[in-house]
């Protein structure tokens, strides 16, 4: 067993930490969120320079040939800094869909552009009635000459408005919930018939409802196998979940640190509130929650590569359950232990709690993954 990061990985981590502490403080982040597109092009370009946008792609596709552990490492630091740039949607979810399922031509065309920060992706997978079920797809793709015509409504597409290209799941055969008959398409967001309704999310990010009305795509827009995209979708989603778990761990670490510091400095009754045993035990439980989450996030970051889909699903779902529960517990306790300050929007603490709660609501909540875990046993 070896839980130690390599020297390169440590350097990568240090460079992100340095960037966040210097240029991505709470006030800078606030200004970015308030901007029109809700994230910073400048920051994105810096991420490209730092090599973060291609960290896990092959060198042949303009990447750095890293592993899922590198992605985890980046996401953990982003969790600490509450980075709102579209990394999850573009690099992790969009990028892995193409990396895992794309043709050589698609990878060549897209991944290096992503790595250079020139192209943004979003994965349009969920629908108004699908909740967290990736197989629940009503959006249709009908054959039309050599290509397809897409119709449907995709819900809560993370960073859907800013994306250049969308990866869309659509039904090419079968009924709404069938596991077979799902295909993936690469759709230009500017294509005729694509209507985007963008909005803020409560954790400071952006998402969109995207409607497709007779959107025509060519045969080369198909990503992966026609009618059989679900396994690919699940693999990429699991990769994104493991990245979210790492992000959550970073957020928990930062939130715990802020809370423990507050317990040491806030004085009531002539002493630091951290001297009250009732609060000490709560702090200890927060710390234990974080350690348990960290353990399963590490495991998920390795097992997400497993060739055995059951092992992969079981581990990734276990991690998501753990971070869902622990994120909720830590978020709520952190607010409570900050007293009134905890509900003020001027303090970072509440923003971490918001992000942690929304991570639970993204790509499957505790209940969704509890059912999946049992099914993968």
């Amino acid at each position: 067993m070896d839980f130690i990061f390599s020297e390169e990985q440590q350097q990568l981590r240090d460079s992100i930490q340095k960037f966040i502490s210097k240029e991505y403080g709470f006030e800078a982040r606030k200004a970015i969120i308030a901007s029109k597109q809700g994230f910073s092009d400048k920051v994105w370009a810096q991420f490209a320079d730092m090599g973060l946008l291609g960290v896990a792609f092959d060198e042949a596709h303009g990447g750095f040939g890293g592993s899922s552990v590198d992605t985890m490492l980046v996401m953990r630091e982003f969790g600490r800094g509450m980075v709102v740039e579209p990394y999850l949607s573009t690099v992790v979810l969009g990028g892995s869909l193409i990396d895992l399922g794309g043709s050589e031509a698609q990878k060549q065309a897209i991944l290096s552009e992503v790595a250079q920060g020139k192209l943004l992706l979003a994965a349009a997978l969920g629908e108004p009635n699908s909740r967290y079920e990736l197989n629940c797809v009503e959006t249709s793709a009908k054959r039309d000459g050599a290509g397809y015509v897409l119709n449907g409504h995709k819900a809560v597409v993370l960073h859907g408005e800013s994306a250049d290209k969308l990866v869309v799941s659509a039904r090419t055969a079968g009924a709404m919930r069938d596991t077979k008959g799902i295909s993936l398409f690469l759709v230009d967001k500017k294509a005729a018939g694509v209507a985007v309704q963008g909005y803020r999310t409560i954790d400071g990010m952006r998402a969109a409802e995207i409607r497709f009305a007779n959107v025509k795509v060519g045969a080369d827009a198909v990503l992966g196998e026609v009618d059989a995209a679900l396994p690919l979708l699940e693999r990429a989603a699991d990769f994104a979940v493991s990245a979210l778990c790492a992000e959550a761990v970073g957020a928990m670490e930062a939130l715990n640190a802020a809370t423990f510091e507050y317990l040491k400095t806030r004085q009531q009754f002539g002493r630091p509130i951290g001297s009250f045993q009732a609060l000490q035990h709560r702090a200890v439980d927060m710390m234990i929650h974080c350690e348990q989450s960290h353990s399963l996030a590490l495991l998920a970051s390795i097992k997400v590569q497993s060739e055995d889909p059951n092992e992969r699903k079981r581990t990734v779902s276990a991690a998501k359950i753990q971070i869902g529960r622990s994120g909720r517990a830590i978020g709520e306790e952190a607010i409570q232990l900050h007293g009134g300050m905890g509900v003020s929007n001027e303090l970072a603490a509440g923003h971490y709690a918001k992000r942690l709660a929304m991570i639970n609501a993204t790509l499957g909540d505790v209940e969704h993954h509890a059912e999946r875990f049992a099914g993968a046993a």
Binding site: P128, G270, A278, G339, G340, V343, A357, A361, D365, E371
Partner: protein
């Protein structure tokens, strides 16, 4: 033992129910039921309707224009109002400062302020907490120095709920710093229009403006606005706590939210079936419902007791807020991914933009984060537990 309401209490409930049903303006009820944003006028309109009916002050004695209802009647009234979507009557004037004025105020304070509280002419705020004095309220520092027929007030209050609407604030101020900290505190009624009073918003996690900072810079307050005696403010403040007991459990409101949660969970789908039929989710709803059933009976036991409610009433605060928070959490989770969209503009009653997801999703996460306050304000739940440990369990 008989755990049923008496015939008279049943009849009273029916009377309250039909009055509220028939007289609560639909637009206001709609806002409350759908978690839309309330504005000053909504509270005032409802309070004036109750005032006309003679029901705005359930807890006041008859001589001051109150209803002098029994605790059980007050509970029935709160429950029906909460259940039907009435906005909460603003407690700061009617429930908090009024009993203090009635018991300890001067003749003119009673004659001047009480009618204005009844008619909602004045909007009161509570000026207790300070940046350095929350749970440890008695350490408060805002100073009031007697100069002739005035007190000169300097300092800062914070977390002042709806202080942006208020024209009056009752404050605990330090008039003597040479004695034990509880004994140097006085109870002062301050006109917020006086020169030197500044109100600044604090924005909460849901990006709403519900609380404020209030600054006092050399504010000259007439000495006749001191309630009772100098140095007795702490005693009056503790007396006031005894008047906050009913309603603190918010049973009616939680019953309403529980019903809404079930209605939402019947519409939301999981694996193609209503979420409410999903055993994992349903069991959690049942868990909260059972707690709420128990809370209602615990509340009635407290209210029916022949002695005045004591420190054990802290149970009501702890459990009442547990239940409220659990309901907001389940409601948020019921939305699935539609918990994410954050659209404060959609919470304005007049907003007619394009919705995102089901209409009821627009406020779910915002309300969840807003309700984190309930275990913090009014004496945090840790402080309530300390009270029970010390005063009830003798630890």
């Amino acid at each position: 033992m008989d755990l049923n309401y008496t015939k008279e209490e049943q009849a009273f409930r029916d009377e309250v129910h039909s009055f509220v049903r028939d007289n609560l303006p639909k637009d206001i009820a709609g806002k409350v039921l759908h978690h839309k944003r309330l504005v000053k006028d909504d509270w005032e309109r409802w309070q004036k309707i109750l005032y006309k009916k003679g029901w705005v002050a359930p807890n006041w004695p008859k001589e001051y224009g109150g209803c002098a209802w029994s605790p059980i009647q007050q509970h029935i009234f709160d429950e029906e109002c909460g259940y039907l979507g009435a906005p909460r009557v603003m407690p700061f004037g009617l429930v908090m400062v009024a009993p203090v004025i009635q018991h300890f105020g001067s003749k003119w304070q009673k004659e001047y302020y009480l009618p204005r509280i009844l008619s909602s002419e004045d909007w009161w705020a509570q000026g207790y907490s300070e940046p350095g004095s929350g749970s440890d309220l008695a350490s408060l520092k805002t100073k009031a120095v007697r100069q002739g027929d005035h007190y000169v007030v300097d300092g800062q209050k914070t977390w002042t709920t709806l202080g942006q609407y208020a024209n009056m604030i009752f404050c605990l101020v330090r008039t003597d710093s040479t004695v034990k900290k509880q004994e140097g505190i006085s109870f002062l009624l301050v006109d917020m229009k006086l020169p030197g009073v500044t109100v600044r918003p604090i924005i909460t996690l849901d990006e709403e403006h519900e609380v404020n900072e209030v600054f006092f810079d050399n504010v000259k307050v007439p000495a006749e606005n001191l309630v009772g005696e100098e140095g007795k403010g702490w005693t009056y403040a503790k007396f006031l706590l005894g008047h906050e007991r009913t309603g603190i459990a918010r049973v009616g409101e939680s019953k309403r939210e529980l019903e809404q949660l079930k209605a939402i969970a019947a519409k939301q789908l999981r694996n193609g079936k209503p979420l409410m039929e999903d055993p994992r989710f349903r069991d959690r709803v049942t868990g909260v419902e059972v707690e709420l059933m128990a809370l209602e009976i615990t509340l009635l036991r407290v209210l029916s007791s022949r002695t005045k409610p004591g420190p054990e009433a802290s149970i009501l605060k702890i459990k009442g807020t547990d239940v409220q928070q659990a309901l907001t959490e389940l409601t948020m989770e019921a939305m699935g991914p539609y918990a994410l969209p954050f659209r404060p503009e959609a919470r304005d009653a007049g907003w007619h933009g394009e919705p995102v997801g089901p209409e009821y999703a627009a406020s779910a996460a915002a309300v969840y984060f807003n309700y984190r306050k309930t275990s913090i304000y009014g004496g945090s739940n840790e402080i309530q537990r300390n009270i029970i440990a010390q005063m009830v369990l003798g630890l």
